[in-house]
């Protein structure tokens, strides 16, 4: 059967000016990705060492290290490709949303059976993914039931196992970036994950769009629920009251990535700056409601809905202005994904 290339496939829209795709990829790696994952390993190293010294669930030093580590993860959590996807590292760092309550179940099982897997890093890496990462640690440090379940000595061991595993995953992600993946992205090749410079730009663009979407749909959409049925208990990291903080840190990181991607396209760049400023301003309006408990009352709900709309506005600019300017728009069906 003969091969056939439809002529229509050649009629790709071309941007009005020539983009330096390689420069976009280089700056994103050098100014956003590598510094972000380096900061993550520094914070997770501190978290691991802090837990090694003081594993009490009420330890102020441990709480501070938890928050710093979580902040550092939120600043890179949108970079879901390549090294984060090896061995389920990103899901190991953050298993959320946990719609069926696997994290408390897995932790309770480990604690009540005093599973010896917590004593060995390799064995622990094999236990349920829901018992790993920042959300498992949050339960161990902030959940009334989990932090009093079983023996304090075993919970201490488990906290150390979880923080060790967090640091191990963060370190592995950074190592992969430094030892090869950055080159694969900078230098497209026939057999690599990116066959063209534009494909690497498209990956970064997709990370930006998906990150915005996750903030609007999951981090805000989940607690908002519906007007008749708000779901404040579904807010991300509500036990440690960092639901809003996660969004603020994520938006700041996404703004940095958006700015780098828009460096050669002035109009989307200006519109993106304005749109991020509006959303971050609205986020600061919510500081009195750090875990979105207010979604249950009209006033509080409105403030959260406005933030969601502002993030939607950023996304519109990304999809309608930045995408075409970077020549990375996907097709009607390709984008649909179903």
């Amino acid at each position: 059967m003969r091969l056939l290339a439809l002529t229509a496939s050649l009629l790709l829209s071309q941007p009005a000016w020539a983009l330096d795709s390689a420069a976009l990829v280089d700056t994103a790696i050098d100014q956003h990705i590598l510094p972000g994952f380096t900061a993550l390993t520094e914070a997770t190293g501190t978290l691991k060492n802090t837990a090694a010294q003081d594993c009490a669930s009420q330890s102020p030093a441990l709480h501070a290290a938890y928050h710093q580590g979580f902040d550092a993860w939120m600043a890179v959590s949108h970079l879901r490709f390549g090294p984060t996807e090896e061995d389920e590292r990103a899901f190991s760092l953050a298993f959320w949303p946990d719609t069926k309550g696997f994290t408390p179940k897995a932790l309770a099982k480990l604690i009540t059976t005093e599973d010896a897997a917590a004593l060995d890093a390799d064995a622990f890496s094999e236990v349920s993914i829901a018992a790993h990462g920042f959300f498992a640690l949050e339960f161990l440090l902030f959940d009334d039931r989990i932090q009093t379940l079983g023996s304090a000595a075993y919970r201490c061991t488990l906290i150390q196992a979880v923080t060790n595993d967090i640091d191990r995953n963060a370190t592995a992600i950074l190592a992969d970036w430094q030892n090869g993946y950055d080159d694969l992205m900078r230098t497209p090749s026939e057999n690599g994950p990116y066959t063209t410079e534009l494909a690497a730009v498209a990956e970064l663009f997709k990370a930006l769009d998906t990150g915005l979407q996750f903030n609007a749909d999951a981090r805000l959409g989940r607690p908002l629920g519906t007007f008749d049925k708000p779901r404040p208990l579904r807010a991300e990291a509500r036990r440690s009251e960092r639901s809003l903080q996660n969004i603020t840190v994520s938006l700041n990181a996404l703004e940095q990535l958006a700015t780098l991607l828009a460096a050669q396209t002035p109009t989307p760049a200006q519109n993106l700056t304005a749109a991020f400023s509006l959303a971050l301003g609205q986020a600061s309006e919510l500081e009195t409601d750090p875990a979105f408990a207010g979604v249950s009352d009209i006033q509080g709900r409105l403030r959260v809905e406005i933030l969601q709309q502002y993030i939607g506005n950023i996304r519109n600019i990304v999809l309608q202005e930045l995408g075409p300017a970077l020549d990375v728009t996907a097709g009607f069906n390709a984008l649909d994904g179903d």
């Binding site: 059967m1 091969l3 290339a5 439809l6 229509a8 496939s9 719609t99 829901a130 069906n333 179903d338």
Partner: protein
Amino acid sequence: MVTRRRILAGLAATSLLPSAGWSSVGTPDYLSAARAPDGTYLLAGLTTTGDITFTIPLPARGHAAAAHPERAEAVAFARRPGTFALVMDCRDGAILKTLTAPESRHFYGHGAFSADGKTLFTSENDYEAGEGVIGLWDVHQNYTRIGEFSSGGVGPHDLKRMPDGETLVVANGGIETHPDMGRSKLNIPVMAPNLTYLSTTGALLENISLPAALHKNSIRHLAVRADGLLAFAMQWQGRKSDSQPLLGLHQRGTEAKLLTAPPKAQQQMQGYAGSVALSNDGRLVAITSPRGNVLHTFDTETGQHSAALSAKDVCGIGPTSDGFLFTTGTGIIGTLQSDTAQHTLQWDNHLIAITPQT
């Protein structure tokens, strides 16, 4: 040009032809949802030559459709997580009934009629439980909702009636979603797709899972051959650099067989098969990738990759006598030999053959 009548002459199952109902609407061979240049959505009837026989407006983006086996009636389903489905008279475009998903359910975009045309089955999400259900609608009572049963998994997508007329097969994609979170995927690390065969009363007959290493291969779309051979298409949710099989064949009571193209061609699919079809002679099976802008065909006997065809944003695919008709998001309708028509409409994911497939 291969006419529809010649295709049908070659079929053993001519007794299953739609009755007068369908012949009165300018004889469409397929249905497809589309987006018009003005941004509105519609359902269209299409012929094998790519001509449009009718268009009917839709209130929002559609996905797939189901054709009644006898009456010139089709049900167009909303795009996930939509809650509407429109029953339309394809002779005049009249909306006969709007189906609304029950409380705490939404449609997944696919459905199938029973062999006698009395019951419509729809794939739905029980989203608070995060479990899949199959909804039942009584066609003769003006499409009244009469019940539901478990789909046998999470995230049911496509479903088909088997040739025995007594069995349904469901592609449980395994991905949990919730309408409050749009189309965000909620359970990728623990997803577990399967193929489930059910009786028309919901009894679980057979459940096929892929090996654990393929648990992120979401089984989404189905095509059935007259002898019961099932083709299923998948969408890989794991690492992009992994090149996994995206097509499988299954015959009841046997192991599923997974088909892959040679490495380079397989990589072009970008881990995503959007639609699947079997040719009417049963010899070929095809999958499309709108992300990779490519269509692959395989020999159903040998399982060998037989051809690759490039077409931008190709997704919809339906059978012709010895091959396939495909549609693209750029408006093209084509066959393996040539592109036969270019419309200003953007064809949506699926091209549904009206001729009964089983």
